[in-house]
């Protein structure tokens, strides 16, 4: 593949990966903020 296509693919994968990871982190933060301490301990080990 050409360098131009490769760079585009690299940028697309990086952007998609960053977005998915950021969404997961934000979702986890919201869950964490809303979880009661009892539920949090019960969900651990």
């Amino acid at each position: 593949m050409s360098d131009k296509t490769f760079r585009r693919l690299l940028a697309a994968v990086t952007a998609a990966g960053t977005l998915i990871t950021a969404a997961l982190v934000i979702y986890t933060a919201v869950l964490y903020k809303n979880a009661s301490i009892i539920e949090f301990i019960a969900g651990g080990r």
């Binding site: 690299l10 998609a16 990966g17 979880a35 301490i37 969900g43």
Partner: protein
Amino acid sequence: MKLAKQIMILAALVGLFAAADIYIYFICTKRLMTDDGTERRTSSIEVSDYLPFDENSNIVNIKDTLPLTGELPVIDGAEGLYPVYSAFVNAVYPEGSVEFDGSDFTPESKLQMRNTLKAYKGVVDGNADIAVCAAPSAEQLSYAEEMGAELEFVPIGRDAFVFMVNSANPVDSLTANEIREIYSGKYKNWSKLGGEKLPINPLQRLAGSGSQSVFLKFMNGLETVPNYSGWRGSPIGFSFRYYVTGMRENDGVKILSLNGVYPDKESISKGEYPICVDFYAVYDRRNTNPNIPTLIDWFLSENGQRIIEETGYVPIK
């Protein structure tokens, strides 16, 4: 050759993101979800489960009459004590005094449940007449002083301040000193305390909440490790006994004995459990509503104390 290298770089990048996401999911996200994949319940209890004047309510249903005249005091308080003061309102207030819009009390309602932080502020600012809460934090006392409020604390009931761990944790009992050393960072692994070889994850609560204020007094000025200092370990947390056993009962947690004493009604009423705390009816002495002393006297009456006991707390008298 060049193509193979490019594909390897792309695959490595995808793998890196996937590994990060899987790690975050299994270490953090999954822990905050129930087994069926839904979000765990929020920190707030269901207000509608403990409404006064509702035949399906979970509150203790005792009726009494009181000579209340004029403006009825607004009663607010801690989340964990809401079943108690909702039952008080149910016992002596007229039915139309409470307005619930399906998710929260309206501003006109004489019963509110805005939690400890807002209840204390409400009494100081005049938005509430009586707060039913545990002892205040230093910040809450300081705010009251700054605003010129003269807070009066009348003990009306008692409960144990308890420490809890996951029910799979083999540790059943700790000493008060061991707990202080966990929270101050000396003990970092459960294996040092008879448990599994897992890091200890000591949890704290929101600053200004009733349980956090009691915890800080318990720590007696010792510096604590940062809150939520680890996700990979096994947690220890704290709350009030009734909140754990009565309101948010969960098979996944167990309460620890402290200095060999398990916190039950008997050990609390006999004063054997090491950390028994009173909870109070708090009001501002500048507030001249004549119904306030009448109500507080009733909280301490036979029926008022019965409500406290039958709710699951320990009466003060």
